[in-house]
Structures are given as structure tokens and as C-alpha cells.
Amino acid sequence: MVNTVSIGQLTEEANYDRFMERIEAGEKIETEDWMPDEYRMTLIKLISMHGISEIMGALPEKEWVPKAPSLRRKLGIMAKVQDEMGHGQLLLRVAEDLMKPLGKTRENIIRDLLSGDLKFHNVFHMEAKTWGDAGLIGWLVDGAAIITQTNMLDASYGPYARALKRICAEEVFHAQHGEAIIMALAEGTDEQKAMIQDSINRWWEALLMFFGPGDASTTGTSKQDTTIKYKIRTKTNEELRQDFFTKYIPRVLSLGLTLPDETMHFDQDAGMWQYLQPDWSKFKQIIKNNGPKSKERLRLREISYTNNKWVIDALQN
């Protein structure tokens, strides 16, 4: 028995080398191009989670759409939530193209969401209790999203990078919309100021978690090494969290608000913000759909899915 390398395997290796050369050279990979399975699977997971998070993320804000306290605010938040749904749609289209060779469709994405196989972002499992929360989501959650998405604007996968360009442009408006709500509250009555302080206190931990664990030692797994290897992203979770602090901590403090972490400070020597770690075991529970609002929000999507089944059936006839 002669030990030979099959032609197929050789081709596979050659393909892989060629693929890595292309992304190292900053070329964009397109839908029909050859890509390693690991790359495809990583992208499907990342982009379908991103897309479905935009859609699930519309739900906490939707609670405040009718309640927005003026005609102008009503119009603003309606436009914002519509954009989020639009981002969801755009991203699911990108994910669908990647899933096609696997024989999967959007139907699979929705089913995986309902079964718990597809996770959505930790922040959207949280309760949006007050109008202050609606403002804070726009300001800080979208602000955090801008930071993580900007990190992927040059992603090696062309369709994702292009979708992100459009999404980021709109997210900037969202952050401004959120900031305008927050500014009005911060400059308002004592009750309004208390409302926004309360929102920051309740949301702080979720915002820290937004960027994900620093490394696999906290939660057991982390995809960040793979995504960096394939040039889907450049910075680590911790670097992104630090960028968020640098951008937003001065802004929060300048509004006369405080952070619910007395240890938070910038360590000049280390060149880093020092802060209290969130409870990562809680994070693991949240993304397993055991967060404060996970079940209720999934239930909304489930109702939409089952109640409208007759409509989908009618369209397919």
C-alpha cells in the first residue's frame, strides 16, 4: 500500500492556500468564491446571529414606540426601529446566500431562533422598563454596536462588509437619536434625571457584556480568534470594550451622571480602563435564553410565526 495524497485533498490544500493569500492581500471574498468550510460556518453563525439580533432588538424598543412622549419623538423612534428591521433583513439576505449550498433557508434561521439553537445578542434579553431605557438603547447600545461593527467594516467577506457600511451609517443617526432623548432627560426635571440614572445603573452590566468575554477562559468558548484569523474583524473583544469606555465614559460623566462602578478609572501606566468584571456566568445564562425577557420576546416571534402561517401558505400557493 503506497501512501498517496489524493488529488482532491491536494486541490483542497491549494484552494486553502490561495484563499488565505487572497485575504492576506486584502482581497474580498464573494458568495460564489471558494471558501473553507470553517470560514463559511463562522460567517453563517456570525451574520445570522447579527441579523436576528437586529430583529429581536426591535422588540424592546417597539414597546416604547407608541409611548414616545411627543410627535417628534414618536416619528424618531418609529424610523429607528424600522431601520433595525431593515438591517435584520439585509443581514439575513447575506446569511441566506451563505447557507444556500447547505440547503438551508430563512425558515431554518427562524426555526433555530425559536428552538434556541440560534442565539441573539445579550442586550436584547433585558427589560426596557422606562422611556429612559429607550433613550439609552439608542445612545449606548447602538453606540456599542457602532464600535463592534466598525471593527468589521473591512471584513474579508465582501457582502458582509458592504452591508455593514450601510448599517453603520444608519447607526450613527440612531446614536444621535438616543443621545437627543438622553440630553433632554439629563437637562430636565429631577424625575427625568433620576430616570436616566436608573437606566444606566440597570443597563451597565449588560453593556459590558455586549462586547463578549475577554477570552475563552471566562465562558469556555470564543470565536474571536477564528474571526481575526480570517480577517473578518481586527480587534479583540477587550480592545473594543476599551474603545467604548474611551468614547462614552467622558460623555456619561459630562451629563452629570454616574457609573455604577466605583472602581472604574483609567490606568495611565497600563493605558487601559480598570473596571469591575460583569458576572459572566449570568451572561452564559442570558444567551441561553434564560435572561429576564428572553422567553417573552421569543414568544412574540413565535406568535407571529404561527398566527401568520396562513398568510405565508397563501403567498406560496
Binding site: A58, W64, V65, L71, K74, M85
Partner: protein, 272 residues
């Protein structure tokens, strides 16, 4: 005779009529936009969620425009008019305040897409006819607003008409559900054309065409559509749950207004 804002402010009788009509227009769009926003995230598919929320946004924009015209006429602050007036003071058609289905938008929303399609389509067509009439309104600021609304309305109408004919033609369960929804909507459809007790005054001042003219135009525009989907349109429409133009409303409006004004009413004097 054309009236500018200044003219309207000088003629009390005309002024009152213009305010009356603007409340009907503003309240109609305000409440239907709310019903639309309750559907957010619950539409049959994501593309529809995006389209429907765009329509609800336009509709809220139209309400804001009409409330602003009221503010200009000295009827009060636009936000206050939208958020504080009680159900008895509202002039919207009852059809538009009806809930989307069982449950609330926050919990167990078992909404009826057939009802959403029929209500929105029939309303978009009625609104289109009114807006065409308002382009010739004697009140100049309203005639100008009508031109802007008209352009957006074209797309709303096209959108709902597409849904309507598609689901009517689908047969089976879809057809049955659509026919039940049509029945419910027709029961209160006449409220859309009503101009309320002050109707004759509004027409006398050439602010808008008469109820009969508006209704006839609607039937005229809709007949070919009904014919194309093999549905016989009844001779008469109802106002089963009251005439909203005269302040008659259902409990559905009260609970909607509580939600719409919840934050505003925490402190109406505050800046939000």
C-alpha cells in the same frame, strides 16, 4: 374663496369649521398609525415589517402635520392635542380605533392580518379620495399639505391593494379570513366618510366635498377591484359602533390613548 391662515383667524364660523375638519384628519391618522406600530415585529415576514412600519411612520407624519395646522389656528399645542385629549374629544372614525385582534401589543398579540389588510386598504382609498378633494380645499394651508400627503399615499394604496387582491385570489383559508374581515370593516366603514354633525358647514365653506360625494367616489374607485376578485360590494355601509366624528367611541380608544400618552402625561410641562 381661498382662505389663508390670516383670513381664517378673522372669520369665526370658518375658523371653527377648519378646526373641526383638521381634528378629524389628524385623529384618524394618529390612531391608525398607532394600530400599525402595534404590528411592529409581528408582520407576516420581515420585508412586510419594514414596509408596514414605513407606512405607519408616514401616517404619523401626516397626523403631526394636521396637528401643526391646528396649532397654527390657535387650537392648542400640537403635542398636547395629540397626547392629552380624552376619548370623548377625539374625532377619528371608530373603524380606525378597533384593536388589531386578541391580546395586547406587549403580550400574546394574536393579531389578524386579514383585518389589517382590509382596514388599511379601505382606509388608504378613502383617505386618497379625501386628499384629492382637499387639494381644492378653500383653506390654503390644508390644500398645500394635501399635495405632500398625496404623494406618499400613492404607495400606501398600491401596497395594500397588492395584499388585498393577492389574499382574496388565494382562495381557501385566506379567502374565508378576508371575507370575514371585509364584513367587520364594512360594518363601520361609513364612519370614514362621515363629516359629523358639522358636515354641512364644512361643505358650505368649501373645505372638503360632501360625505355623499366622498362615498360615491370610493365606491366608484373600488368597484373594479371588487369585481376583479369576485366580490359583491354591498349597497350600504354601516356605523355600527357609533360615529367617531361626534365623539362616539369604543373602549378600544380609551386604552390606546392611555398608552399613547403614558410618558407625556408623567409630566406634561416637562421637555421630553
Amino acid at each position: 374663496m381661498t382662505h389663508t391662515l390670516v383670513d381664517a383667524l378673522k372669520d369665526e364660523c370658518y375658523h371653527n369649521s377648519a378646526i373641526e375638519l383638521l381634528f378629524q384628519l389628524a385623529d384618524d391618522d394618529f390612531i391608525l398609525s398607532y394600530r400599525g406600530s402595534e404590528w411592529l415585529g409581528l408582520a407576516p415576514h420581515i420585508e412586510e415589517d419594514v414596509a408596514f412600519s414605513s407606512i405607519s411612520q408616514d401616517t404619523m407624519g401626516h397626523a403631526a402635520m394636521f396637528y401643526q395646522l391646528l396649532q397654527d389656528l390657535g387650537a392648542g399645542d400640537a403635542d398636547e392635542l395629540a397626547h392629552v385629549r380624552s376619548a370623548g374629544e377625539r374625532k377619528n372614525a371608530v373603524l380606525l380605533e378597533k384593536v388589531n385582534g386578541l391580546g395586547t401589543y406587549l403580550a400574546e398579540p394574536h393579531y389578524d392580518w386579514a383585518f389589517a389588510v382590509v382596514r388599511n386598504y379601505f382606509y388608504a382609498q378613502a383617505k386618497k379620495i379625501k386628499i384629492e378633494s382637499l387639494k381644492n380645499s378653500s383653506y390654503q394651508p390644508l390644500a398645500e399639505a394635501a399635495v405632500k400627503v398625496s404623494m406618499e399615499l400613492y404607495y400606501h394604496l398600491l401596497h395594500w391593494k397588492t395584499w388585498f387582491t393577492q389574499l382574496m385570489d388565494a382562495g381557501g383559508e385566506a379567502r374565508t379570513r378576508m371575507e370575514s374581515a371585509i364584513k367587520i370593516v364594512l360594518d363601520d366603514l361609513d364612519g370614514l366618510f362621515s363629516l359629523g354633525n358639522s358636515g354641512p358647514e364644512l361643505t358650505k365653506h368649501s373645505l372638503i366635498d360632501s360625505e355623499d360625494t366622498l362615498r360615491a367616489a370610493w365606491v366608484n374607485r373600488m368597484s373594479p377591484v371588487f369585481e376583479s376578485v369576485n366580490f359583491n360590494i354591498p349597497e350600504k355601509f354601516g356605523m355600527k359602533n357609533g360615529n367617531g366624528r361626534n365623539g362616539e367611541h369604543t373602549v378600544d380608544l380609551k386604552s390606546a390613548l392611555d398608552i399613547l400618552g403614558e410618558v407625556y402625561n408623567l409630566d406634561p410641562a416637562a421637555s421630553w
